[in-house]
């Protein structure tokens, strides 16, 4: 049984005074996320990521299609006891303290507060808010609110966790902590479905990613597969003063940073370039095949969309 099955989910918002016009937010989306996966949902702002998450959470209703979480229809309210959700740029009841907020959400999730009091304390410590447990949220910074948001999403030990832009508004330290937390969830066997437009986060964390743009799914795949395709080039780094003559003729693209030279060389010319370096008595520091990054894949998919649109126009 898959953790998440999206079966042709689509959404068109009615707009205008008479609500006659439609604004397409999501074309029929088919997606399957297996249990225990960390799945990245990538796309630029306005691509349809948040709409998809809202549809899965039952906050907006689909124009067509359906979805299942842990084998249950998304309209089944009881399934929500097994899922956690962090909305984008979360805002919470600011008259509550962090501890009271977690108690409230635990109650709504059907967790006995007395039995989970220790769990709430541990969770606040885990997200670095132990010292602010009794401070009203109106005094919290954006980063602290994001941490509370993460705590409420995983407090009731959900099997599937949905995170909408979880790194948004966090400083580098905070982002690192969120990444560690997601890694912990993976190790606990939880399924994590998170949306982001920060590709380095997705590349570091995800087993698989999907790319969505203008409401259309543009590609799905394992991160390892998408980033392991050798582009037929090698990257060489060596120390020296200046670029030896003749490298340009071998097709090497050289970049000089101080006394370090980085060159991207066609794989076929690798030996010829190495001969030049030996002849010039330069010290090779590194030689690695060039791998296409997730960013390359992402941009390729987005460019394809733009070309399609241009072709259609």
């Amino acid at each position: 049984m898959a953790a998440i099955e999206i079966l042709g989910l689509e959404k068109t918002y009615k707009v205008g005074f008479w609500r006659k016009r439609g604004r397409l937010a999501l074309r029929p989306l088919h997606l399957r996320v297996e249990r225990g996966e960390v799945f990245g949902f990538l796309g630029p702002n306005g691509a349809g990521k948040t709409t998809t998450l809202k549809l899965l959470m039952g906050l907006v209703f689909p124009t067509g299609g359906t979805a299942r979480i842990l084998g249950k229809d998304i309209n089944d309210v009881e399934i929500k006891a097994k899922i956690g959700f962090l909305p984008e740029q979360p805002y919470f009841y600011d008259y509550l303290t962090a501890k009271e907020l977690l108690e409230y959400y635990a109650q709504l999730s059907g967790v006995d507060v007395k039995s989970c009091a220790r769990k709430i304390d541990a969770m606040l410590e885990r997200v670095g808010l132990k010292d602010s447990a009794r401070v009203q949220l109106r005094k919290f910074s954006k980063g602290m609110l994001q941490r509370v948001g993460l705590a409420q999403a995983i407090l009731h030990d959900p099997e599937v966790v949905f995170l909408d832009e979880p790194m948004s508004g966090l400083d580098p330290m905070g982002r690192r902590e969120v990444r560690d937390l997601m890694e912990e969830l993976r190790q606990q066997g939880k399924t994590v479905f998170f949306s982001t437009h920060i590709l380095s986060d997705a590349e570091a964390l995800c087993d698989r990613v999907a790319i969505i743009h203008e409401g259309v799914l543009r590609g799905v795949g394992h991160v390892a597969e998408l980033t392991s395709a050798v582009a037929g080039k090698v990257e060489m780094i060596w120390n020296g003063n200046g670029v030896p003559a003749g490298l340009a003729a071998l097709g090497a693209e050289c970049h000089v940073i101080g006394d370090t030279i980085r060159a991207v060389v066609p794989e076929a010319q690798q030996e010829a370039v190495l001969d030049v370096l030996r002849r010039e008595r330069l010290r090779l520091v590194s030689l690695m095949p060039v791998r296409s990054s997730l960013e390359d894949y992402y941009l390729q998919k987005l460019n394809a969309t733009a070309q399609e649109a241009g072709g259609a126009g």
């Binding site: 809202k54 929500k80 740029q89 805002y91 109650q107």
Partner: protein, 257 residues
């Protein structure tokens, strides 16, 4: 059901922390001032004035709270997106609405309770004792609470699909029209043709707040019929339930963009 209770408790806590009950201070100042003033200027009608003024203030303060908190019950949660994390839990939309309604009415009941103590203290101050007819003041206070039930449900209904400003206008307009519901029914009785039908429909559609206002009667020490108490109770409960059912019907279909 426990989820409704938790949402109601949180709504009550919000009102308390947002210092809504601070209105009690203003009420206390108003009533004490009035009691002292009345004690100095009138001889026979102190009781009449204190009961009239006290109960009218209880009603008006409550109406203002019911409208101004009620109109934001749902729209504020949508605007601030606090609703997202609530509805992503095993909480049905009707549970959320009913919880919010009960939280607000609970706040008003507590508020009314403290104000009622104020009325009786002022009465004790000007009359130096209680009469048996003062018991009817409790019935008038009960009717005021019934008014709040209807008002909260109306504010909740408008809040479930409209902006706070429009919700306030609609709710307040219905409160004013409903306060003249008996006159509207009288007008319908005197009209003919289409206007009779329209006036009758309007008279029975708007909440009958005038039947729930017995302040004048109890101020004069007149008793309230048991039949009226039963009728008003049934009417307020039925009206509120129907309005909340309407709010649920709308809110169940609403996209939370």
């Amino acid at each position: 059901m426990s989820r409704v209770v938790h949402i109601a408790t949180n709504t009550f806590r919000e009102a308390v922390r947002d210092r809504v009950l601070y209105n009690l201070i203003a009420y206390a100042v108003l009533l004490s001032g009035a009691a002292i003033l009345v004690g100095q200027i009138s001889i026979e009608i102190e009781r009449l004035i204190v009961v009239n003024l006290g109960l009218t203030a209880v009603s008006l303060f409550g109406v203002v709270i019911a409208i101004f908190i009620g109109i934001g019950l749902v729209s504020k949660e949508i605007e601030k997106r606090t609703l997202y994390t609530v509805l992503s839990r095993p909480v049905r939309r009707w549970e959320f609405l009913v919880g919010k309604f009960l939280g607000l009415t609970g706040t008003l009941v507590v508020n009314t309770f403290f104000m009622a103590i104020g009325v009786f203290l002022a009465l004790l101050y000007v009359s130096h004792g209680f009469q048996s007819s003062d018991g009817w003041i409790l019935v008038a206070l009960y009717f005021i609470v019934l008014q709040f039930l209807i008002l909260c449900s109306l504010a909740l209904l408008f809040s479930s699909f409209s902006s706070p400003l429009l919700s306030a206008v609609f709710t307040f307009a219905l409160f004013v029209i409903g306060s003249f519901a008996e006159d509207l029914r009288g007008f319908a009785g005197m009209s003919r043709g289409l206007s009779r039908w329209l006036a009758t429909a309007a008279a029975y559609l708007v909440p009958n707040f005038s039947a729930l206002n017995v302040i004048g009667q109890v101020a004069h020490g007149q008793p309230i019929a048991g039949q009226l108490i039963a009728y008003n109770t049934a009417y307020a409960l039925a009206y509120s339930v129907m309005v909340i059912a309407g709010a649920v019907l709308i809110f169940e279909r609403r996209n939370l963009k």
